[in-house]
Amino acid sequence: MAIAGLGVIGAFFGMLRAQEAPSSERSVWDGVYTEEQAKRGEALYEKQCSACHGDKLAGRESAPPLTGGAFLSNWNGLTLGDLFERIRRTMPQTSPGKLTRQQNADILAYVLSFNKFPAGKTELYRQAEMLKEIHFVSEKPAAKK
């Protein structure tokens, strides 16, 4: 078997990501939810989301994963406002829009927690406009290691 087409992409390394947030901007690495909120979100997730997205958020044939490469890639460079609105408008699939803003924020907190983004001292906002100020950055910044 010949392995072909494994093009070198090393040139990409060292380049600044176009969407990288300046240090003054908040990101998911800045402790934007609380552990207590994530716990509430977990209970909600189990009732409202897990039937399709799975208990390990890994997704299945019927729903995309909410963790791992596909999830992190598809939201990287956007904001929590984008993700919150996606949940609020379209989920749960059988009854979109039925959850309150608080419930949606709690579920989002659980998804962040599951993906090992750090918890903080304040709960996640409930308004998409405010959540748009928090950037979804998939890779952990070196300074926050």
């Binding site: 070198v8 992409i9 009732k47 390990k56 890994a58 044939e61 963790t67 996606r86 890779e139």
Partner: protein, 688 residues
Amino acid sequence: MSRKKFSEWKSLIVWAVVLAAIPASSSAQTRTKDTEWPSYAADLAGTRYRPLDQINASNFNDLEIAWRIKTDNFGDRPEYKLEGTPLMVNGVLYATAGSRRAVIALDPATGELLWIHGEHEGKRGGSAPRQLSGRGLAYWSDGKEERILYITPGYRLICLNAKNGIRVPTFGDKGEVDLKLNDDQEILPDLTTGEIGIQSAPVVAKDTVIIGAAFREGMTPRSMRNNKGYVRGFDVRTGKRLWIFHTIPKKGELGYDTWEKGSAEYTGNTGVWTQITVDEQLGLVYLPVETPTSDFYGGHRPGNNLFGETLVCVDLKTGERKWHFQLVHHPLWDMDISSAPILADITVEGKPVKAVAQPTKQGFLYVFDRATGKPVWPMPEKPVEVGNVPGETYSPTQPIPSKPLAYSRNGTSIDDLIDFTPALRERAKEIVSRYHLGPVYTPPVVSKVEGPLGTLTLGTASGGTNWPGGSYDPETHMVYVYACNSCMEPIGLVPAPKEISDIKYIAGTAGQEVEILKGPGENAGADSPKPAKKKAGAGYVPMNIDGLPLVKPPYGTISAINLDKGEISWQIAHGETDDVVRNSPALKGMSIPRTGQETYNVGTLVTKTLVIAGEGHVTTTADHPRGAMLRAYDKATGKEVGAVFMPAPQTGSPMTYMVNGKQYIVVAVSGGPYSGEYIAYTLPSNEE
């Protein structure tokens, strides 16, 4: 009209709107030059191949958008999981679209909407196990009449006049057949909420419409009992049922005895939820059957469980079984046969063979003589690990194809782990030390807090090749197939509390709350079962290290497999290196070849010279803004020859056609914040 009747009527509103005349005259003038894509996978053989070459290596980068259509308004809300592949036949492009699973007819050159048809199913659609727009539809013509057939989320077969989108009144009951009826079983609990549906496209072969069945995900079912997924053939003219094949045999039928302790009576699922393939000349239908009820625990269905995870060949006219081959005995890994079998006329050791090749989640391409079912290359039964989950029974052997070798990972070992740096390998080893590892068919274990938490698997539920399947070039006898090489599935079992499920063990992790993966609103009220408290140190372990996959690249591949030789000719990583990998501080300064992506729903298209596939993930690089690329490879070598930008990942497999002298490639994109859209690419007019 009484209130009740009005309500029933209202819940099944049907609409079709004709917006423009189908340009029959113009298509008639050029039809001889047109190249059609008349069924979901291009043809009934499942090839996803068209011998077109106007778009080629020299100009792929010049592709521009000919037209695009968002599907947001074809339903009461946008959908973000558009998986359809359109048809193009007789000068019209047809597709399913939107959260209503509407049918649309478009001008294939301009994208102009010609007509639209929708069915409002109310609660029946809302409680369907497989919702949204599905994978597509089927076209039929006798040379005079043209019909479009599709299946609603609520599991009704609808027959439309292809010229205007209006139901054909002479088909079934005013243009529909209720697929929850006349199924040799009573769909429980009732016709509205009874769990059965389908998302794949129906197949029409020689005036017979063939339809399978799908259910909810089966990791943690509520019960060992469920509706069964039989396959039926219907007369395309009348909607009359012609035959049925019992994927779980009834008493007296072959295979009934492979369900010990009477388990054939109550076990369900075992449907055909993916695409069905037909050889019209031989008059044979190839059915890729899924897993029986309960993906990971089979203690309530002792025996080999025919026709679970079996490739079954039936007669096109009668549905009578001709041959079968069970790929996995007593299924325990959710290795549904997940994609269309591929028909291939090949030459093996100088002799012509009419073959059928089956890509799988477990990364084996099973190749059979499609007339007899005999393996083209030996598939000896080999001993596999026998587990010790209480109540479970195991098959001590499984058939392992000797050729071709597995084209994606189907087991786990330390050697598979991330090895960019020794430190990352050590962290990965630490994580997997809490799991049971082993080769393909290493069985699930009961999850224990002290370990193992589960069996760590690759090439199971989400691994290898899923519903998009492969492509086949009938001229060169090559199969091209995408596979997820890194979709890891930890499979642990936990005892299911009786109030949650009557199954002894369901998927879960020790120390986590025992939970059923349930529908919205269930067990939410007072007196619902209280979950057990979590134990410290237990629970979910992330299957990545700061976003880096636990296994080493390539994460997703396209393989070219020579079916004359049974050998992999080339294999490439498909998909740009994810941002989380490319920008990882842990890898700073390292030069890493393209890794491919950890995703399982990429479909391929093969043309005269190219293999074409889009990416399943979004990336942002120096070469392109946030988006995904539709990539073209030289089909002889796998070398990339071009790429074109898409605003979102490919979520439906690409197709191609030639109309009025121009070649088009249409692909469905969606995902994340981007709602569904079909995009048609073609060459700039000045380069025709």
